[in-house]
Each structure stands twice: as C-alpha cells, then as structure tokens.
C-alpha cells in the first residue's frame, strides 16, 4: 500500500538519479579496487539508504514492502556490491532485532543502523550447516548473567566491517533441532569475536564476506533477542522470509539493467550488413529476457502488495526468490551471448554482472531450498 504517490515518485526518482549519476560511473573502480570509495559510502549514508526499511520511530524511512520493492528495482540497476553494503542494515542485519527484539534492544541499536553509523551482519551459516541451518553447532552456554559463545560462522556478508552481529547459536545442547537455537545481538568489539580473512569471491567485488569466529566470547544475557531462549531459529526464518522479496526485486532491477545494456549493444553492433538487433535469433534472446524480467517485476509487486495488505506471503516470497534469481541468471547469460566475444571481456559491464548475479541463486536460501519451501507450502495448504 503506497502511502503517497507524489512523495514516492520523488523518492524513487532521487534514488534512480543517484544510481545513474554516482554509482554506475563508479562500478568499474569498485570492482577493480574491491572497495566502495569512502565518499560514495558517506553519500549513501547521508541519503538515508541504510534505513529504508527501518521504521520512522527508529530513524529510518519505514517503507512499505511495495515501496521497498520499487526502490530495490532502481538500486538493482548498478553493481550489487553497492546494495550489499547497506543491504544488511535494511535486511538480515537489522530485522532480527526489529521483528523479535525487546524495546530496549531496538532503542539501543536500530537508530545507529538506520543512519549507517554502524554496519551489521547476520550469522547463521556455518562450515557444516548451510541449507540445513537448523543443524548449526555454535554453542551459547549460560554463565551467570552472560552467555559464552563458541563456534564458527561462514560467508558472513559485511563481516569484516560490521559493528553489530545477529548470531544464531545453540543454547540447548540436548535439542539438536531448531528449538535449541537462540538469537543474540553481539557488538563488534566484544572480546572473543574474531573476524577471519576476507573470502576471495567470484563476483560482487567491493562487497566482503568472512568467517566470524567466536572463541569464548562473553555476551550479556540481556542480548538474547526477545529475551527468551529457543526462539532464535524462528527469528532467523522470519528475517529471511522478509528479505526474499527484497532480493527478488534487486534481481529484477539487475535484469532490467542487463537488458538495457544488451539492447543498446545489439542496436549498435552490425554483422551481415545490419544491426544484430535485426537478426531474429538475437531478437528472441531480447524478447525472452524482456518477458521474463516483466514477469519478475509483476510477481514481486503483487507479492509485496499482498504482504502490505497483511497476507501471509511466505510461499509467494519463495516463488519470487526462486523465479527472479534464476531469471536474472538467464538474462545475464543472454546478455553475454548478445555481446558475443565482447561479453567475455571486462571492458563491458555484462562480463562483471554475469559473475555478480550467480550469487542470487545461492544465498538467503538456494533455489532448491526455495523449491522445497514452495512445495511444502502447497502441500500444507492442500491439507488444511
């Protein structure tokens, strides 16, 4: 439910212009330096991009899901690395506290996340617990008014830079399943929280992940999210549920950018005496990409509107993540194909995007996990 069309138009326009004028021209440099320039980072903070989905009472913009999707479409039109740096504060890094945290936890941390004063991370995955996150082994043992955390978290986005970590750890060693897990907020300078070496990734250069190691890390008991043990896995699932529509919208934005690049190239490049955009087989690639991106845009907006209207959209959100992540993979593949040999050369952005978008099918639930979620949802609904 969009609250005010005029204000929203201005918001989307401003972001779209910022993306076009500031971020797109910096893409190559970000990829080459594997870092986002300090001045751009500051501009993103000044603009308020770190608090898009954080409620206004905590200093954010409090966008509705539909508004957030419209904004994410625009942000998708440049390197996903830019989104990654403010993505955790809007998404997985902040939502745990927002959804299930106590009022004190929200007051203490969320305003700083909204301004980007601190970056946040979400620590679920472990070396031996990926898709099967409920099997995680990181331990949190009660010791007086503290918990002592021990274990290793893997591939943690913004891990090297974060000042605040949402950490899922097992508080009940006798319960090996989801019910034994609790979620904690851990401040970045807590002794025993160790940041590992930065991972060398396939793409999304400029966005960083690393292991986060907990070595007898003492966390105050009041930092357990929501104040109750055993709720952590549910919290983590709610966080991921919300993020799926956002990631889907980013996939749509990237697809639209790639289509624009591919179309532009196809209209300029001549072979056999005419622009390649006149050849029917190239047209088929353009048309398939356009139709699929449009389908993605439509389904994301539909699911977002339903969510804003109060519907449970778990299954639909997984449908979106499943479709849009695969869709942008196909669109990127065709964009490279349309560019011919040039698509394999770094001078053209499609080469970089082709590697960047591969991630969307893997994190925040792989495509296979989305399929499982969707099918289980279907069965559950048919049974009820």
């Amino acid at each position: 439910m969009i609250r005010d069309q005029e204000t929203l138009n201005q918001l989307v326009d401003t972001i779209s212009r910022f993306v076009r004028e500031r971020l797109v021209p910096a893409e190559e440099k970000v990829a080459e330096d594997d870092a986002i320039p300090e001045d751009i980072l500051q501009e993103m903070k000044d603009m308020g991009l770190f608090g898009l989905s954080i409620p206004e009472e905590y200093g954010g913009l409090g966008l509705t899901m539909e508004e957030e999707a419209l904004v994410a479409f625009e942000i998708g039109k440049t390197s996903p690395a830019f989104r990654s740096i403010f993505g955790t504060n809007n998404g997985i890094g902040a939502q745990g506290i927002l959804i299930d945290g106590t009022e004190e936890q929200k007051q203490k941390y969320v305003p700083k996340l909204a301004t980007g004063e601190i970056l946040s991370s979400f620590c679920l995955t472990e070396p031996d617990a990926g898709s099967d996150a409920a099997s995680l082994k990181t331990r949190a043992e009660r010791d007086g008014d503290h918990y002592i955390l021990n274990g290793t978290k893997r591939f943690i986005t913004n891990g090297p830079h974060a000042g605040l970590y949402t950490v899922m750890a097992r508080t009940d060693p006798n319960n090996k399943g989801a019910g034994g897990i609790s979620a904690f907020v851990v401040e970045g300078d807590t002794p025993g929280l160790i940041r590992g070496k930065r991972d060398k990734k396939m793409g999304q250069k400029g966005a960083h992940t690393c292991d986060i190691i907990f070595d007898n890390c003492r966390v105050p008991a009041e930092n357990i999210i929501g104040g109750k043990e055993g709720q952590g896995f549910k919290t983590a699932m709610k966080v991921l549920d919300r993020g799926r529509l956002h990631i889907s919208a980013v996939c749509v934005g990237v697809a639209e950018r790639l289509i624009e690049d591919a179309l532009h190239f196809a209209m300029e490049r001549k072979q056999f005496g005419q622009p390649i955009a006149e050849h029917q087989l190239v047209q088929a690639m353009l048309a398939d990409s356009k139709a699929e991106a449009y389908a993605g845009r439509s389904m994301v907006l539909d699911a977002a509107r339903r969510k804003d209207a109060g519907e449970n959209v778990s299954t639909l959100a997984s449908c979106c993540k499943l479709f849009c992540a695969e869709m942008v993979g196909k669109v990127a593949d065709r964009a490279v194909q349309i560019h011919g040999g040039s698509g394999y050369i770094q001078e053209y952005a499609v080469e970089r995007f082709y590697r960047d978008v591969r991630l969307f099918r893997l994190y925040e639930g792989t495509t296979q996990i989305q399929q499982i979620v969707v099918a289980r949802g279907m069965v559950r609904e048919a049974q009820s």
């Binding site: 204000t7 918001l11 401003t14 500031r22 308020g48 898009l52």
Partner: protein, 249 residues
C-alpha cells in the same frame, strides 16, 4: 535574511526531446519532468547560505501548472523552508514570468533573489535580467561564486575570456552558472518531511498580472540530422578535403 529562489519545471535533461507533429512545440505529454538544472544550483546556493548561518529562510517559488508543486517539493526536500506556486500556463513568456516574480517579491520582501541563468527548455536567458530591471535591483548574472557580506554580496561572473567580480548592494538578483556549485541529492527522510512544509498557491489574478502572450511561435523544428563523419589518412588529405569538399579554407 530571506532568500527567494525561483524554480521551473522542465523536461528532464535525460529525455530525448521530440517535436510535436504539428510543429507547435515540444512533446511534454507522458514525458518525465524535473527541476531545471540551473535552478537546482540556485537552490543549492541558497541552502548553503542558510546552512552557513547567513540566512533565516529560503522560499521556493515556481510559476507553472499544478504539477509544478512537485518541483517545489523537490526544492523543499533539498532544504527550502516553504513554497509558493503561482498556478499558470506552462509556456509563459519571460517578461510575464518576471512580472509575476516581481509581484511575489513585493509580497515577500526577500533580501536576495537567486534564479538559474536560463531554463533548459527554451534557453531564453532573460527572466533574471528583466526582473532586476523591473525591481530596480542590482543584478549579478552567470554567477560562478557568491560571497555574502553584511549589506553587500560579491558575485563572480563567468564572462568571455575570464571572470568578473561585482559587489552588489542588497537586495539583489543573482542568476547562476553551472560551476557555482554541485547540487546535493535530497536526503530520503527530507523527501518524506517535505510534504509537511507549507506551500501556498496563488494565481496571476491574485498578483494583478496580465499573462497574455505577446510573442507568437511560428514553428518548432528538429535540428537537421547530422551526417556520418569520415576518417582521413593524412594531414594532406584533410587539407585537401577542407579546401575542395567542405570549401571552408
């Protein structure tokens, strides 16, 4: 101190301009519109002066259709304090706009008036100068630097082959050139808050100004299509072509 900034709603600078089929003007239906870029610079300068503690209020004025409210809201999101819309035809002539602005100035009594040097739609570059004359105020046009004193403002102007610095007594009219500053992107929370800032609407009738057209547009045409270029192999060939084909030397 009060600063008045005039902003115009024009076709966005990224849009490929199309001439209407009947050649009466430029297509504006379903075309993205934005604040004239020179006016953004004017507003940025005003907001910077206010942020430096040298002004108390920045008033954003636009003359145009009701949608020009959006342009004013953009200005309020960038840091303007309140807005005034004079609701009128989008294609008023510079002299009419100057008269309307003069009437607004008489209501508002600002100490400084900042405008873009021209609007990118018709590139007239007349309104600021006409307004200065109508008000009998000193004017500093094509400003690339503005420094505020107590009762004076120093304006560095871009002129052929260099820069000229003028000292103007206030109140004064300034028009901005491209190099004056780099306008900010509105902060997203300020965009949300802009909706709550006051915006008054007036009509030319309220201001007692006759908006009848005195100029007639005869025809609007696309510029001739550029022909493709050619590469030459040597300086000799270039000279030969310039002399015999292009006949320019």
């Amino acid at each position: 101190m009060k600063i008045l900034v005039a902003v115009k709603r024009v076709v966005d600078y990224n849009v490929r301009i199309r001439v209407k089929a009947d050649q009466t003007g430029v297509e504006t239906a379903n075309v993205k519109m934005s604040m004239n870029p020179f006016d953004e610079i004017a507003l940025e300068e005003a907001v910077r002066i206010k942020e430096a503690g040298k002004a108390d209020e920045v008033v954003v004025v636009s003359i145009g259709p009701s949608q020009a409210q959006e342009t004013i809201r953009t200005g309020l999101a960038m840091g303007g304090d309140r807005g005034i819309l004079v609701e009128a035809d989008p294609d008023l002539e510079p002299l009419t706009v100057a008269k309307l602005l003069k009437a607004v100035v008489e209501k508002e009594s600002p100490d400084l008036l900042i405008l873009g040097k021209q609007a990118i739609d018709d590139d007239s570059n007349q309104t600021g100068q006409m307004l200065g004359e109508l008000l009998g105020w000193p004017q500093g046009t094509f400003a690339s630097k503005v420094e505020l004193g107590d009762s004076e403002v120093s304006v560095t102007r871009e002129i052929d082959g260099g820069a000229e610095t003028l000292a103007l007594n206030m109140p004064a009219v300034i028009t901005t050139d491209l190099r004056l500053n780099e306008p900010r992107y509105a902060k997203l929370p300020n965009i949300m808050k802009a909706k709550k800032k006051p915006l008054d609407t007036l009509t030319p009738g309220d201001l007692g100004v006759d908006t009848a057209h005195r100029l007639k547009v005869v025809k609007v045409e696309e510029p001739p299509k550029r022909k493709g270029g050619a590469k030459v192999g040597s300086v000799q060939e270039l000279v030969e072509k310039l002399r015999n084909e292009a006949k320019v030397i």
